[in-house]
């Protein structure tokens, strides 16, 4: 590829190429980069978009997270240690690792100091309230110690690497749990939204499998024409606007006229749910007459969000996996058949390993997507995330603070925190997932 050279000298004759670049560059500068810079700047303001505008420094972050003197070294240490595992180059890695260790040491020192003051200054009654959090902290610390012992005992290898990761991970998690649950720092709505995201991501881990199975099923059909037919049939639902799909599912969940409740009544599953509620769950939502408000009852919102989209086969996912599966040559299958490997064995030993790249890609995209999601929850539950904010995601919380409460500065600070989390995930994605393609 021999591109044409344009140097500073003949810049003037080639002004056309800059005119050609201009629309794109001006567009992204004005509508992407300026807002991004503004978002960072406005995180440090108390700002309602019109009249109130004052520089408050770190106040927004303090309101969101709590005592920054404890958070800063902890997060700094975590990021530096994480980076040290990602970068190439031995010297840089060592510098980062020792920097991270130093920051973590400082963080845990400060935390220990804080904890000793907290425990001596708190009455027994107040202690009882935070007992659940304390137990979690102790459990995580114990896991950390176990990992340290294991890392010491195990020989070199993947297990040891895993154990060493645990040595870093569990104490950091313990510290975070301590700050959030024991000291009850920061904005509880924000922590609630992160908790929701965590639950949704765990649920999505299970919801990834149906797409994989479906793709494998289509792939194993011997007729090319049927394969193509199914591919087309799977794309057809994509032509329905997403909003229509959302609203129809919302209608399925409607307590009075919705299809889901009617289905449960017709199949007598309602009796099972009522029995379950009476003797096991004690929620008090499945009672006669059977009209649970799936999106209106605080204890049903998260299950409803998880059940959403049953049987969880994403068109895009299926197409990606199919593209990956097509690279498997027929010889591999024939060899497997000679070795007498059954269909389940073929799945675990041939197909899954060979589409692992795509699975990991989907996994990371799913996690990033779940973190950013808020339109979905907005349509279903409104800006407050439904009753008791059960369906509030971080993005929705940002939206709520900005456009319902006019706390633009605070909203920008939430956006900033989200940005850093997503940035970390994207870096991991680029480093571990994309490179191998």
């Amino acid at each position: 590829m021999n591109a044409q050279k344009v140097t500073w000298k003949n810049l003037r004759e080639n002004w056309v190429i800059f005119a050609m670049l201009a629309p794109t560059l001006i567009g992204i500068a004005v509508f992407s980069y300026i807002p991004a810079v503004q978002a960072v700047r406005r995180s440090f303001y108390n700002w309602d978009g019109t009249s109130v505008e004052e520089l408050t420094g770190l106040e927004n972050l303090r309101r969101l997270l709590g005592d920054l003197r404890l958070w800063t070294p902890l997060l700094l240490g975590a990021v530096l240690s994480g980076l040290s595992a990602l970068v190439n180059g031995e010297r840089l890695r060592r510098t980062l690792r020792s920097g991270g260790a130093l920051a973590l040491l400082w963080a845990f020192g400060a935390l220990a100091f804080d904890a000793s003051r907290f425990f001596s200054g708190t009455s027994k009654g107040a202690m009882a309230e935070v007992r659940g959090g304390l137990l979690q902290v102790l459990g995580l610390l114990a896991l950390g110690v176990t990992c340290a012992v294991a890392a010491h005992r195990l020989g070199e290898g993947r297990r040891r690497a895993g154990a060493r990761l645990g040595v870093y991970l569990f104490p950091i998690l313990a510290a975070i749990v301590y700050l959030i649950r024991v000291r009850q720092f920061g904005d509880s709505l924000l922590w609630g939204s992160f908790r929701l995201i965590f639950i949704l991501i765990v649920a999505n881990l299970f919801k990834m499998w149906p797409s994989i199975f479906t793709a494998v099923c289509i792939h194993r059909l011997r007729s090319e024409r049927t394969q193509y037919l199914y591919r087309v049939l799977f794309v057809v639902p994509m032509i329905i606007p997403q909003m229509v799909g959302l609203l129809i599912w919302k209608f399925f969940y409607d307590p009075n006229v919705g299809v889901l409740n009617r289905f449960l009544v017709i199949t007598h599953l309602d009796r099972f749910l009522m029995w379950l509620d009476k003797w096991v769950l004690h929620l008090g939502v499945f009672v006669a007459p059977f009209k649970p408000a799936w999106l209106g009852d605080p204890s049903l919102i998260i299950p409803a969000l998880i059940f959403w989209g049953f049987p969880w086969v994403g068109v895009i996912g299926v197409l990606i996996y199919l593209a990956g599966l097509q690279n498997i040559s027929q010889d591999v299958y024939e060899a497997a058949e000679i070795d007498g490997i059954g269909w389940w064995g073929k799945f675990w030993r041939i197909e899954l390993p060979l589409i692992m790249t795509q699975v990991r890609l989907n996994l990371i995209l799913m996690i990033i997507g779940t973190f950013q999601a808020y339109g979905f929850q907005y349509v279903l539950l409104g800006a407050e995330g439904g009753p008791q904010n059960k369906g509030l995601t971080p993005g929705l919380y940002m939206f709520y603070q900005a456009f319902e409460e006019q706390n633009y500065g605070y909203a920008c600070a939430i956006g900033l925190i989200l940005f850093f989390i997503i940035l970390v995930l994207t870096v991991i994605n680029q480093k571990y997932v994309r490179v191998e393609k």
């Binding site: 503004q38 920008c412 900033l416």
Partner: protein
């Protein structure tokens, strides 16, 4: 024996696929079937259509959504065209020229991949207000155009770099400038990739929901996703008319799909892998 087990396996595969397809199509079926009912019929039996069929729901449905559809078609079409033209021009420059600051600019462009849209929303709202582009379809079109740049420039740059450079050199000898080279050489060769990108961008604009929600306030300027959401939010619902409206909102995409099925399937696959 071996043949028989194979057959049963195939049957199992087909039934699993049809199970999934049933659920994928079930919402569409429910939508269509309810669009033919009045509320009394719908409460009596939501599952199957039965006479009398209320085709007039479709007329009401059309009245509910026609302005939203018109706005959406306008914004999406203009945005797709503008995206393709601007992305093609800059992709050509990135592919064919070395100029001072090229690498920096390229990374600036790719850097947007790291920037979640979620962070920009609030300051973008203020910026649009300052530029007097709030509540304006022009403003929304600009946002959609900018939103498509990174992906399209990225794909088109790779495509143009694969075109043999002799073609461009020959054109240059004949006195063709860069813009002529784009429209005489690149465009005729890139029909299918441009169509694929156009479909992807059109789908993206058609489904975009947060931006019209935040940036458009007048109902008569609203686009289809938010319009549908507003219909759903009304207190007393005429389910039949609403579902007819939903069905009508899907028709433009259905038409595009019918005419470009092959490209559509391929575009979604490619977009999924790269996006």
């Amino acid at each position: 024996m071996a043949a028989r087990t194979k057959k049963t396996h195939d049957f199992a595969k087909h039934s699993l696929i049809w199970f999934v397809l049933f659920f994928a199509f079930f919402p569409l079926y429910i939508m269509f079937e309810i669009s033919l009912k009045d509320n009394a019929q719908f409460v009596r039996n939501p599952w199957f259509p039965f006479p009398p069929y209320h085709w007039e729901n479709w007329r009401f449905g059309w009245q509910l959504v026609n302005s939203y559809i018109a706005n959406s078609i306008l914004v999406s079409t203009v945005a797709v065209a503008a995206t393709l033209v601007t992305a093609l021009l800059s992709a050509f420059v990135f592919a064919r020229y070395d100029f001072p600051g090229k690498t920096a600019l390229w990374y600036l462009l790719l850097g947007l991949l790291f920037m979640p849209g979620i962070m920009n929303l609030v300051p973008l709202f203020i910026l649009m207000k300052d530029l007097n582009l709030l509540n304006s379809l022009v403003g929304l079109t600009i946002l959609y155009t900018v939103g498509g740049q990174v992906f399209c420039v990225f794909v088109l740059r790779n495509f143009i770099e694969d075109i043999p450079s002799e073609l461009f050199e020959a054109a240059q000898v004949d006195g063709a400038g860069p813009i002529q080279q784009v429209f005489r050489i690149v465009v005729p060769m890139s029909g299918s990739i441009l169509a694929t990108l156009a479909i992807l961008r059109f789908l993206g604009s058609w489904n975009n929901f947060i931006q019209p929600l935040v940036f458009i306030s007048d109902d008569f300027k609203q686009l289809i996703p938010v319009g549908l959401m507003r219909l759903d939010g009304e207190y007393v619902k005429q389910w039949g008319q609403m579902m007819a409206g939903f069905t009508i909102a899907a028709i433009p995409l259905v038409l595009i799909f019918l005419f470009t099925m092959r490209l559509f399937v391929r575009g979604l696959t490619a977009g999924a892998v790269k996006g």
